[in-house]
Symmetry: C2
Subunit: 500 residues, 2 copies
């Protein structure tokens, strides 16, 4: 059997390049040596609290160096991080904690009120980061090794059923993702990656992995600000950055006519297909855009289009990363080039499965292939095109919103008989959810009341922009909701999303 | 268990970047698409000959694109390559083939006479590369996947006993070596690696792995020529090169005063510690030298010194590559910084063991750690210094010569009672073997006859530069030969090697 033990990545990195800059934030610059020391201290504190091997430790925080420290410390103590999307409602977050059996919830000061509401609904112990630091430190610091087969993180992702599922990513998954990316994007001594995407998403988390594995400086920005991001690129030597289309558009609006310096070499664009006008503006400014396709289940990007194909292969998400494979299938049969079907992915970066969901795992992963539910095709040269996202997925400002989840919330209201949710185009967020409901006989429709009802139960980005009553919802013969037909009922002031 | 299957590297590479240049030779430039086609053809021919999964296929050839093709084709047919050092005597090579149970020996035209002498001593089938190409092609081409746990190559390395051992390197070993190297040296789109080291050594073989894994152009040079190598760097955009000290010295002798262009970014210097004057000359010419330490057992480099430490850490082989660990032990106890002891190495790049030698494997690899036999220390900052090479190893022009092997050959001569071999300094090769013998009572010493005797049995680079008779050899109380004391018997015209 293959040996699967390797040195603790941060420990290794601190041994190899202790003086190299690990992070730059608005307030400080820390070396890998300092990061290692900080993380060792946190691990000692966590052990002192009673965090044990394989414990699930949930994190609720703004993006911060401290959050980075907790991620590594939880790994170093042999436990598993469960990052919480900090825009979730208390009920949503509590559901995730109960689902994975988290023993601890650690939050920063800003999220203490939300965290309190969350733990009230779970058997978890709540600690602020400050409270953790008040603990005595045990003598035992970081584990010196990682087992590539062991879970490193559990990240929740919603699905068709409306119930989110915990995607288990092992150390090996994160390693192979980072290795695949470096073989595609290369690595230079002066590389500096600007991270403005959330650290609770796999997109941000994968940057933390690259940070220690590559020994690459990361500029960590708490909140995305297009002007600040442009300044990082133009005046602070940032060479690479992860964005979604909305962020990129706002950066272009802010950027000067001169564009970016030649040192900037990669704008990694994820979170759904890029609109053509946006790509054209990037071309004018000679911005090297790498369009990418990835899922939480693939530990971030699994296909990427290099900028030399930005226009000849417009709309393509490129080719799979070196260790990953992509096929298109329909009814178990591989499709020929240019024939659409379901996108399936195989590779050492692919999750072993969903936490505690053997059935869902067996439905999603068959014979080593992950069935993404996304529809697409490969052209003659093997470039991937995404035609349709899984299960009518709405992507709002880079966040996934599953219509089924919003519908299921609406259906919880006593007045709602049926509910249907679609995405509509939005200038700021790309798309936002729009809801239709059928009200129960004899009851009264109030949009305001339904929105309030949702607001208490759903993260803000999942809230419908409007809730509109209908006599009945369009359904097929077997009563399946035909979401696409809902488009016909939209008022003229709303446009369906681009690919409808 | 961790999934250990990944796509066939060459096939993957040809899918991802078909038009990128894979190889440049004196005569041609081939893309990855062309290389893939060429390799597929060879695999079809090999299958047609009857090469089956797990067969050992020995290769005896000059460095050539064709040899590269056979390496990949053997992998693609599921078989295992056994590269033969083309300077071995027929007896030495035949021993290796018999030891690993090779079914096939494939040679190029130039080595046909030697290959014939080799197979006469084995049950192998001999085919020239041309004869392979004459075969009909089966429809079945390359296997589409590699199992990281499976042997990819078996490379013979000599040891103390005088009997070489077959180092098994898996696909995983080669992968982790390439991954460790890229995290240390980085990777740029314009990288071009000049390969003048033998492809039958792990140093050359590892460049072939990097070629397909990184998608990096390799300039393949049949024979090393300092002037041609300099021209590659100065006029053909070569950015990286693997050398041993002797090659580097000859390149410096040839190079113009202006040194190398800024595009050249890595002179990877292996094969033993570098002499200080050589490093000083490199400094004057601003040549970025990366000193490195590696063994066949570690799939090439396992520690490397970046050029920024070239003078502050002079003589150091640097720090271990990211996935590898190095410790210093004596009697099973870890040594403190600056305390010398045996160098032991652990990591996913380390061989699972020696072919068919369970005992030797268990002696060499304990608890996952490879005991190298080399003596060294780690300084306070974790930089590795090699003090003494294993078992009085002589490194002659980058080739390992084990005194025990030469001694054992000498002892086979009817007139030789005892033999002792040491390395002496040599302007051209760095070191060469020098032999002392005790002649049996009543028999006559003839240096010429003994040299002829050796010439028929040993590779040229293992031949002693002189054979000198002594009354007795210096031995300790338990009759162990004290090779270092032999230095006192050297005539004045010979200097012991540097570290004696």
């Amino acid at each position: 059997m293959m040996e699967t033990i390797m040195p603790n990545w941060l420990m290794r990195r601190a041994e190899l390049t202790p003086d190299r800059t690990a992070f730059e934030t608005d307030r400080e610059t820390v070396s890998f040596r300092t990061l290692f020391q900080m993380v060792t201290d946190i691990a000692r504190e966590l052990r002192s609290i009673g965090v044990r091997e394989n414990d699930k430790v949930a994190l609720l925080s703004e993006s911060s160096l401290e959050l980075v420290g907790f991620y590594h410390a939880i790994s170093g103590a042999g436990a598993v991080s469960v990052p919480l999307n900090n825009r979730l409602s208390p009920e949503e977050a509590a559901w995730q904690l109960r689902d994975c059996g988290a023993r601890w919830l650690i939050c920063d000061q800003a999220f203490l009120p939300l965290a309190q509401m969350i733990v009230d609904r779970t058997p978890c112990t709540l600690l602020t980061m400050a409270e953790v630091h008040d603990q005595p430190k045990t003598s035992c610091g970081l584990n010196s090794a990682f087992d590539l087969n062991k879970p490193c993180t559990i990240i929740y992702t919603s699905g068709t059923t409306g119930h989110p599922k915990g995607v288990v990513l092992t150390y090996g998954n994160h390693w192979w993702s980072a290795a695949g990316s470096v073989l595609n994007l290369g690595l230079r001594e002066d590389d500096k990656w600007l991270c403005c995407v959330p650290l609770f998403h796999v997109s941000g988390l994968s940057i933390l992995m690259k940070n220690v594995i590559y020994g690459m400086t990361v500029v960590l920005s708490g909140k995305f600000n297009p002007h600040a991001a442009n300044r990082q690129i133009c005046a602070n030597g940032v060479t690479m950055m992860s964005v979604v289309a909305n962020m990129l558009r706002r950066m272009l609006d802010d950027a000067g006519a001169e564009g970016y310096p030649g040192t900037f070499r990669c704008m990694l664009l994820g979170g759904g297909p890029a609109p053509l006008p946006l790509l054209n503006r990037c071309k004018e400014k000679r911005i090297p855009v790498f369009q990418t396709y990835g899922l939480t289940e693939t530990a971030s990007q699994t296909a990427t289009l290099p900028p030399e194909y930005m226009f000849t292969k417009i709309g393509s998400a490129g080719k799979p990363l070196f260790p990953a494979e992509i096929r298109i299938v329909t009814d178990g049969k591989a499709m020929r080039p240019n024939q659409p079907g379901e996108i399936i992915v195989r590779g050492l970066n692919v999750t072993p499965g969903y936490w505690g969901r053997r059935d869902a795992t067996e439905r999603a992963i068959k014979g080593g292939w992950l069935y993404t539910g996304d529809i697409g095709y490969l052209d003659q040269e093997g470039f991937l095109y995404i035609l349709d996202r899984r299960q009518d997925l709405i992507i709002s400002g880079g966040e996934n919103v599953y219509p089924a989840e919003v519908e299921s919330t609406l259906l919880g209201h006593p007045a709602v008989e049926e509910a249907g949710v679609i995405g509509v185009a939005d200038e700021t967020w790309g798309e936002v959810p729009y809801a239709f409901v059928v009200i129960k006989k004899g009851l009264v429709f109030s949009e305001k009341e339904l929105l309030n009802y949702c607001r208490r139960r759903l993260a803000g980005y999942k809230l419908p922009v409007r809730i509109q009553p209908l006599e009945r919802l369009p359904r097929n013969a077997s009563r399946k909701l035909l979401r696409r037909k809902l488009v016909d009922f939209l008022p003229k002031t709303f446009a369906p999303r681009n690919d409808f």
